[in-house]
């Protein structure tokens, strides 16, 4: 068994370029709901770019300089946009039953992405370095401790929180989102629910 040949064959079959970068879509793809996915992804790009700029300059910069304050604002609003569009995307996909016909795992990846995003955003709020961070650190410690996560996570350890926020969790999130996108493109968008049939054979 040649692993390389197997992987190459499977990838070339399932991830053909016309699926990954389609220039045609089924005609039922005709609603604003289909925009929420790409708007979520666009927001995530802004979140990541502004986050990289903030991380490269460090916490003191984004807490105490005019330019740092602006990029912190960009990060803040892009996160708000990201969650808004992601929530709309999730709700829309629910009403479309988008897990149908072999797309269950796509939904699972999307839901996991949502969960990881929530945790990532929370560590971001704890990394803001202001009263809101302090307050939520001391408040959330009881939840983390009570849930039994105290062995892994100290909400009062800024080094751990910051590392999780700018490296570990984004890496997991980007991986999940990329996987989600490939799954969407591999299977194509879910077809509409069957039309209701009228008596006599018509709709």
């Amino acid at each position: 068994m040649n692993w390389t040949t197997q992987v190459r064959t499977k990838v070339s079959e399932q991830l053909a370029w016309e699926k990954l970068l389609p220039s045609e879509q089924p005609i039922y793809v005709s609603s604003l709901v289909y925009s929420f996915g790409v708007l979520t992804l666009s927001s995530l790009v802004i979140v990541i770019v502004s986050g990289i700029i903030m991380a490269s300059k460090g916490p003191l910069w984004y807490q105490s300089s005019v330019m740092g304050d602006y990029f912190r604002s960009v990060h803040f609003w892009s996160v708000q946009a990201f969650f808004f569009f992601m929530t709309m995307h999730l709700v829309g996909q629910f009403f479309m039953g988008s897990w149908r016909e072999g797309r269950s795992f796509t939904w699972v990846l999307g839901a996991l992405s949502f969960g990881v995003s929530v945790v990532t955003a929370f560590t971001g709020y704890l990394s803001r370095g202001d009263f809101f961070s302090q307050w939520n650190q001391v408040q959330s410690k009881d939840a983390f401790n009570g849930a039994g996560l105290d062995g892994f996570f100290n909400a009062l350890n800024n080094g751990q929180i910051y590392g999780l926020h700018i490296a570990v969790l984004p890496a997991i999130l980007i991986l999940l989102v990329a996987w989600h996108l490939v799954a969407v493109r591999r299977m194509g968008v879910v077809p509409p629910y069957p039309a209701k049939m009228k008596k006599g054979g018509g709709r």
């Binding site: 793809v29 009062l156 709709r203």
Partner: protein, 368 residues
């Protein structure tokens, strides 16, 4: 039997430009975010320091330090992961029917509040300043019996409830406080100088770096932060983390989580945090498993929302009477009844799929 799947690429198609739509979307979001950020900025309320609290609420500093010294403070008797409680009595161990994973990891972040918050920092102050009176007070306290210590502590604790502030100093009525009154005065002075935070951070970081602010925050977390948070409507029963500074949207996506802190039994249970965390974890698990939960995975079909989302498609079927004119009518009808069995051989596509849409009806961007 393998579940029948309809290949979305076998439906009538229209032209689509993935990269163009992605670029348009990115530009729209970028412009929106950059403008909004420029106009409104983002919330930021400077962090609270022990130094600031010592100047605005000096009594709170002494009460906190005394609670840490005599074991009445919440962290002094917290239990894992900080300690084993005060003299073995832990007050913050959460347990649901005996299930308490909080205790599984031992004491990974040890805190002895009497030593770490009071004796340690004051010893550093006494050494740094050569303060013999303070050194003697610490020695007297440390060598006294536990009963004697508690007596002094209790007397001062009662007195602090009626304390006044004069020139930034806490004034109490004369009483049997032993060395504790002196110790608390110096604790307040240390906080006022800004060095109490330095001493506390020194304890939780092994080197010169200051990654871990645990002891500094644990000192503040009681009365000091709660008083400020309550003024901002940010305590748990006020939907806490759910809202940011009043004019800005907060992390509203945590609403399902904070909701449980508003209703019984979560907001009345001594294990409320644990129960809320597990409840939200369970709900999230259900969200992940929606495709596999009988009933829930069929719900969207019963709801009319999908008919709005795909109204163009359903209108097209209606208008063109595709099923009625389809050469494979029987198959087509079965197809639209969502049968689980293939209706046509692999190489035959039902006519209703093969109808090509006129070019003029191709719709516009942002349909990814």
């Amino acid at each position: 039997m393998k579940r029948f799947t309809r290949d979305s690429l076998r439906f009538p198609t229209k032209e689509f430009d993935l990269l163009k739509e992605g670029t348009i979307s990115l530009v729209i979001v970028a412009v929106l975010v950059l403008v909004v950020a420029g106009i409104w900025g983002a919330p930021y309320r400077p962090a609270v320091t022990n130094e600031a609290v010592s100047k605005t609420m000096p009594v709170v500093i002494e009460q906190t330090a005394l609670g840490d010294l005599n074991g009445s403070g919440s962290i002094a008797s917290y239990g894992p992961p900080y300690n084993n409680g005060w003299h073995g009595n832990a007050g913050s161990i959460q347990s649901l029917y005996g299930f308490s994973p909080q205790t599984w990891w031992g004491i990974p972040y040890p805190v002895n509040t009497a030593q770490d918050d009071v004796i340690g920092p004051l010893t550093m102050l006494a050494q740094a300043s050569g303060n013999q009176a303070l050194s003697q007070a610490i020695h007297t306290y440390a060598t006294a019996s536990y009963t004697q210590q508690q007596s002094w502590d209790q007397n001062l604790q009662n007195a602090l409830n009626h304390a006044t502030v004069a020139n930034g100093n806490v004034m109490v009525a004369p009483g049997q406080y032993g060395p504790v009154a002196t110790m608390m005065q110096y604790e307040l002075q240390l906080a006022r100088s800004g060095l109490l935070s330095g001493a506390l951070n020194h304890e939780t970081n092994n080197g010169v770096y200051r990654y871990n602010v645990q002891n500094d925050l644990l000192f503040l977390q009681g009365q000091a932060l709660h008083k400020i948070a309550n003024q901002l409507d940010m305590s748990g029963e006020q939907w806490g983390i759910n809202h940011d500074e009043s004019a800005f949207p907060g992390p509203w996506w945590l609403t399902p989580y904070t909701f449980f802190y508003q209703i019984p039994p979560w907001n009345t249970s001594s294990a409320g945090d644990q129960a809320a965390a597990y409840t939200v974890g369970l709900l999230f698990f259900l969200l992940i498993l929606v495709p596999f939960i009988p009933g829930l995975n069929k719900l969207p079909r019963a709801l009319p929302v999908h008919r709005i989302i795909w109204r163009d498609w359903y209108n097209r079927l209606e208008k063109n009477r595709l099923c009625e004119t389809c050469a494979l009518r029987a198959s087509c009808e079965k197809e639209f009844k969502d049968t689980r069995t293939p209706v046509a051989s692999k190489n035959v596509t039902p006519n209703c799929y093969q109808q090509k849409e006129p070019a003029a009806s191709v719709r516009s961007p942002l349909h990814a």
